[in-house]
Amino acid sequence: MTSGDLGLLKPEPLLRASALSVDYDAAGGDVVSALRNLDLEIADGESVGVLGESGSGKSSLALALLHLLPRNARVASGRVEYRGRSLAEFSAAQLRAMRGGEVALISQEPALALNPVLPLRRQLADVLLAHHKLDRGAVSGRCNEMLREVGFPDPERILRAYPHELSGGQRQRVAIAQALICRPRLLIADEPLSALDTATQAEILELLQRLKRDLRLAMLFITHNAGTLAALADNIIVMREGEVAARGSMGKLQSSLDEYVQGMLFPEKNLSGEPRASDQAADEGPLLEVRDLNKKFVQQRMLSRKKFAVQSLIGIDLSLQRGSTVAVLGRSGSGKSTLARCLAGFETPDSGDILFRGKPEEKKDGVRRRVQMIFQDAATSINPRFTARQVVAEPLEIARWETDAERTALALALMEEVGLDPEWALRLAGEFSGGQRQRLALARALAAEPELLIMDEALSGLDMPLQAQMVRLLMDLQSRHGLTYLYISHDLNFISLFAQEVIVMEAGRIVERTTPAKLAASTNPATRELVEASERLHAPGVEAAV
C-alpha cells in the first residue's frame, strides 16, 4: 500500500482495515471467530454499506474500527488504520481524541444509547467538551444548533429533557446529534434504524442522507436491510459468517448469482406463490368475534394525585374467520398490542365482548390455551436457563398432559416442525440465536394446540432473510393445522403474501379495513404514512405490499 505507484494517485483512505479478524472467548474456553480476514477502505466523503444477516459479524466490525471491542473479544490478526496510522499504536488519549472527534458511532438501539439518568444537555455538552475547550455560552449555542440540524425545532425543550421523556425516533436523533456535534469525518452507523417503527425509520434515513450531503461525511452504514443501502451507500460489502461474501455497487450486486447475496437483497424471493384466498367454509361462522371493545389505562404519577386516562382502545369491532390471517398495522402506540393482550386475556377490557366461537369467554384458562401469543422479543419471553425441550414442553407440563416421556416426544416433534434440529433439545435456550429462539417460542405456542395464534411484532426483531423463512414456516403450519393468525406489525413486509385482511389502527381506533392488494391505493392518512414509509425504505428490496 505505498503511495509510490505513479499514475494511481489514489488519496490515502480515511480508514482502512486490512485482513482484520476478531475472536471472541465464549463460555467454556471456546474461541468464536466473529470476523475473518476482512479488508475495507473508506475514503473521505465516501459511503460504504455493510449488509449481512444477524451473526455475520457486522457489529464486531463497527466496534473493532473504534478499538472498542468488549473485554472478551480481541483483534486476532490484521490491523485498522486511521489516516495511515495503525490504531494499535494510538495512545489512550489519541484514541479518545479520535472517538467522537474524528470517527463517531451511532449504535443500534436508540433507547439504550443514552444514559437514562442524566439530562440530555449534559450528555450532549460532555461530548463537545471532551474534544474542545469552550465556555458555557459557546457549548450551549453549539448544542442548540446541532439539535436544530437533526430536526428539532425547539432544542431547549430537548436539552432539558431526560431520555425516557422522548420517543424512540427523537432519541435516535439525539444520538445522531451526539455523534456529529464535533463534526467527525466518518460516521459509523450500526443498524441505526432497526429498532424504530417504519415511519420513524424513513425520517431518520432522510436525515442521515441530508447530513451526509451537507457535511460531506464519510459513512459506514451497517444494516440487514438492503433497501436502506440503495439510498445511502456508494459501495456495499455483503458479509456472511464473518467473511466478505461479495462487494461492489448495488447494481453489480443485484446481478450477482450468489444465492446468499440474492437472499440478502431480495428476501421476498424466498417466498413463492400468489396471495392466497382464505379457504375456510364461509358458513362456519367466525372463530373470534370482538364487539365494541374499549380499554382505558389510568396512569398515576408517583407523588401526585393527578390521574391521566389514556384511551388505548376505542370501539374495536373485529371478526376472525377460521384459517385466515388478519394483519393489524399501525405505528407504535396505536393500541395494537393492547388489542392483542385483551384477546389473549392478559388485560381485561373495560367494555365490549370477546366471543370465541360465538360464546363469551367463560373460563379464562380454557380460552387462553386456544389462544396463544408470540411476542416481539423471544429473548425476554423465554427463560434462558431452560433447555429447548423444557421451553417447548412447559405448557404441556402446566396442563399435566400425559407422561414425561410423551411430553418429550411431542416437544421433539414440535421442534422439528418449526425447523429446529431435535438434537439441540438439551441446549440452553440462551445459546440459541434470535431467529432460533423465535422458532422455539413458536414451538412452545403450538404445544398448547391453539386455534388462534396472536403474533405481536413477532418478526420485527429478525432480519429480512430470517423474517422470510419464518413467514414461510407460518404459512406452512397454517395450512397443515388450520391455524388462524392475528399478525400485528408496524411494517408492511410480507403482508401481501401472508394476510387476507388488513386492519390499520391509529390512536386506539380502527381507521381502515382493507385487503393487502388495495393497501397501496388507500387514501386514509394513517395508511398512507405506513405505505409511503415502507416504499421509501425498501426501494429496491422488500416488497411493500404494492
Binding site: 472498542l68 479518545r96 479520535m98 449504535s107 444514559n115 439518568v117 442524566l118 408517583m302 394525585r305
Partner: protein, 322 residues
Amino acid sequence: MIRYLARRAAHGLLMLFGVSILLFLLFQAAPGDFLSEAKLNSQISPGTMAQLRAQYGLDQSLPIRYWQWAKSSVRGEFGYSFSYNAPAASLLWPRARNTLLLSVPALIISWLIALPLGVLVAGWKGKWADRLFSGGTSTLLALPDVLIALLALLIALKTGMFPVDGMTAINAQDEGWWAWLRDLGWHMLLPVAALVVGSLAIILRHVRNSVGEVLESSYMRATEGHGLPRYKLLFGYALPAAANPLISLFGLSVAVLLSGSLLIEVVMSWPGIGPLLLEAILARDLFLVIGAVMLSTVFLIVGNLLGDVLLYAFDPRIRRGL
C-alpha cells in the same frame, strides 16, 4: 412532595403503633417477668411479692398496662425502667447518642471509602486488581462481627495503645474540653474501625457490582465511543446510572444505625444502647426493651424514607414520571 412526606410520616406513626402492640403481646406471651427471679428467693414473702407486683403495675391487665405506657410515652418518658427506677427515655437518650457517636462516623467513613474504591474496582473488572479486591471482600464478608471485635481487642491488648474501657478516661474532663475531645476520639478509634471493617465489604461489593453492570451496558459503550475521558465515564456517567440500588442500600445502613453496632459495643464495653438492651432483655426490664426496639423502628422508618427521598431526588425517571 410535602403531601407525600406527610403521608409517609402518618404511615410511620401507624407502624410504630403496630410495633408497640406487637411488642406488648410478645412480652405477654413470653414466660416470666421482672420479678420471676425474685420469686425464687424464699426470703421474700408472698405479701411483699404482691406489693412489688402492684408497685410495678404488673398486676394490671394488658390493655391497662398498654394505656399507661402510651400515656407515659406521650409525656416523653416511654415507661419506667424496673431495674434503674427511672423513666426509660432518660436512660435511652444518652445511650442512643453514644451509639450514634460510633455508628454515624462509621457509616460516613465506610461510604466515603467504598464509593470511589468500588467504582475504580468496577473499572478494573477482570484485571488482577479486581480479583485481589474480590478475594479481599470475600474474606471480610466471611469474618463474623464478633471476630472483628475480638481482633480489635487483641490489637489493643498487644500494642497497648488503644483504650478499650468505655468512652472516656475517668479523669478526661479535668483537663479541659480539648483534652476530653481528644480522649473521646482516641476511645472511638477502635470501635469505629471495627464497624467500618464490618460494613465496608458489603458496600464495596454492591458498588462494584452495580457499577460493573452499568459499564457493560450499550449506553456506556456509546458514551465511550464519543471519546469521553475515563474518570468522567466512571464517575459522571456510570455511577449516577448505577445509583439506585446503592441508595436503597444507604437507606438500609441508616436504618440499622442504632442496632448494627450492638455486638461491637458489648465486646468493647462502649456505653451505647447495645449493652443496655442486652441487660434489659436478660432482666426482663419490659419498658426499656420496648423503648429500645421502638427507637430502632424509628430509625428503620426514617432510613427507608430517606432512601425513597434520595431516589426521588436522584432518578429523573421517578421524579418526572416514567
